[in-house]
């Protein structure tokens, strides 16, 4: 009889917990908040020169990790730092899991972003990064094509004008693009997606 009572209480507790969880979630907790392109994208086999090692870096995550790929430039005062601060804060939000999140920034402005500048710039946001400087236009365009990204650097009236996308591409260890974060996605949503994707990575590895 007393066992029955407890189980009723337990059920009430479980029911209220479920209620709290679903009330807080507001949406399915296993659904990614980023964008999944209809076309399957992969950057496997595509490399850009790493400014630190001076060797080609293949655009895919290490085993059990995720790689955040971003096309930007250091003279960008608005979009790039906004996005990179959000990525930094997303990593803070997922605690120890953050050690499995790598960042590769490919500069679209290789003339100004030298191997002196780009690694220093990225170290302001994270200590786990690859500062990638395309050796030539072809290397940049090939990498962009894999993600359907575009950029241009033109000189207008003596001023350098850079056009670039503001999207972060999340790549797994096979080189597959598993998620995309458009400009303006907040750190909370990025952290949400990282947790789901890292969980999937762990499950795939076991």
């Amino acid at each position: 009889m007393s066992g029955m009572k407890i189980s009723v209480k337990c059920r009430a507790v479980i029911a209220s917990l479920v209620f709290i969880v679903s009330a807080c979630g507001g949406e399915s907790t296993s659904e990614l908040r980023g964008y999944q392109a209809p076309r399957e994208k992969t950057s496997a086999g595509i490399s850009v020169t790493d400014a630190v090692t001076n060797a080609p870096f293949e655009l895919k995550a290490a085993d059990g990790e995720l790689l955040v790929v971003y096309f930007g430039y250091t003279h960008c005062p608005d979009i790039c730092p906004t996005t990179l601060v959000a990525v930094k804060n997303a990593k803070k939000k997922i605690g120890a899991l953050a050690s499995n999140v790598d960042l590769a920034m490919i500069t679209v402005d290789p003339n100004r972003d030298t191997s002196e500048i780009l690694p220093k710039y990225l170290s302001s946001f994270t200590d786990k990064f690859h500062a990638l400087i395309p050796a030539n236009q072809e290397e940049l365009r090939t990498a962009e094509k894999a993600f359907d990204a575009t950029s241009s650097v033109t000189e207008v009236d003596g001023k350098i004008e850079v056009v670039h996308g503001g999207t972060c591409y999340i790549v797994d260890s096979t080189g597959k693009v598993v998620d995309e974060w458009p400009f303006g996605m907040d750190a909370e949503s990025m952290a949400h997606d990282l947790k789901i994707l890292l969980q999937q990575t762990r499950e795939a590895n076991t």
């Binding site: 250091t74 960008c76 608005d78 500048i117 170290s123 850079v162 996308g165 999207t167």
Partner: protein, 167 residues
Amino acid sequence: MKTSIQRTAIAALAVISMTGLAACGSDSGAADTTIAAADTTPATPNITVSGQWARTSPMATDMGAAYMTINSDADDELLGAKVDMSIAMMTQVHETVMGDGGAMKMQEVEKVDITAGTPTELKPGGYHVMLMQLKAPLETGSTISVTLTFAKAGDVVVEVPVQEEAP
């Protein structure tokens, strides 16, 4: 004589403490800054700036950006911004615009329309005060003075705290 000095001192203290209280009354970390324009003709709009902040500049870059919300009780136009040359060599009001396929670029704007009673936001991905050729990195915790120039209200000086993220 003594009394008069005391009175003056008390009056001065009262003014100081009132000013102090008013300054503390602000509800956000970045204090609202209202500065009456130099020109005081009745038509001069009262400009109020709130939520202002400048981003901590990452290492190895000489670019910076400042953001804020501008309120006015009358229509006006933001024509430009400047900072002391000891902070940055050039200051412009820019807008990030999105083109085809989500590609983004920045462009200088001639003016930003300020509508009476409607807040105008300068925020990431939109309008911003762009600081070019920074003399030194903008460091978290410091403050820079930004002078905004309006068509009617004239110059408005805003004290802008440097921080990593929006307040």
